[in-house]
Symmetry: C2
Subunit: 199 residues, 2 copies
């Protein structure tokens, strides 16, 4: 511990790629929380983090990329969503539930999402950030992909079922949900999502 | 203000019915949170509140009654549940959604339930208390009333949809849920609950 502390603060310390990235993410979280996704600019994040905007683009790419990185998700929705939707309408509801449970059951997955949900229901700025994230990276793209009348309402209802399922199974631990198998839950909740998403 | 304070602390002060009730509820919340519903006794609450157990029975009736009072709900589930279930299977899902939204939209309703949910997702003891409450006063009785195979799983899934709906509409405010009318939501979510509860 002492050696580590000395190394980090001593003359041998490398100029911090890691620290700079951390500063950028911290500034990004503050900006997104305060202004929302739309009104946040890479330039403002750069100013807050005291770095050049080009460095943010270099590390994180677009504003969407920066947003995903700042949320510290255990998955990348921009990879996951096309995968699930791309296989077509048949069995879509079941695939969505199975993938959703898979993310929760992945190492680190549960703690990270729980942290986000806990913040979102207790802190207004975190709720705004979660809303932004869901709008831009999850609900919006899915609604566009499935199309049709009221796509946004139908996708948001599907999302509400998944959110409630996660809270009941992982947070409130309302039996028999925690002890049910993935397959049992997929069979029960799949048809709900199928109906919301496709009818 | 000053007169009020003087009256309350002065010699004219009545020995406190209200204070005693407050002490009982506070002790009850602490006991239920620490031990759960099953292992909490009226006797232990009485000891913690420094009152006679008979006084708790006098003010609050049974342990279930005390529990409902301690949760400070804006509705009494023991009145509401028979009302909804009693009208039969036809349109059950829609009635449940309509009643649920009604509670959230009632004066004080939203703030009180939000307070409970916020505690439940952030504090383990509050999650245990919410779980107890839902088990004993809401999910259990409803499962018994609708009966059939897997009644408990089906009722808990219905509950998860309502929980997620409330979070999405009232906490995260994911459009278009907040601006949708009660009727629109009843039409979409009613069939989900109907399927969970009756098939």
């Amino acid at each position: 511990m002492a050696a580590e502390a000395t190394r980090r603060t001593g003359p041998g310390r490398r100029p911090g790629k890691v620290d700079t990235k951390g500063q950028i993410l911290q500034a990004a979280r503050a900006e997104f929380a305060a202004k929302g996704f739309d009104r946040t600019t890479i330039r403002a994040v750069a100013t807050a983090a005291a770095v050049d905007p080009a460095l943010i683009h270099h590390y994180y790419g677009t504003k969407e990329d920066l947003f995903v990185a700042a949320m510290e998700l255990p998955f990348d929705p921009r990879v996951l969503v096309p995968l699930i939707i791309g296989s077509g309408i048949d069995g879509l509801g079941e695939r969505v539930v199975r993938t959703f449970l898979g993310v929760w059951d992945a190492p680190d997955g549960r703690e990270r999402i729980l942290g986000l949900i806990r913040s979102a229901v207790t802190v207004d700025s975190a709720a705004a950030m979660a809303r932004n994230f869901l709008d831009h990276v999850l609900l919006g793209p899915v609604a566009e992909a499935i199309g049709g009348d009221d796509a946004r309402l139908r996708v948001t209802l599907a999302g509400s079922q998944l959110l409630g399922l996660a809270l009941a199974r992982y947070v409130l631990e309302l039996e028999p949900l925690p002890s049910a198998t993935t397959q049992e839950i997929v069979e029960r909740v799949g048809p709900t999502l199928q109906r919301y998403l496709t009818s």
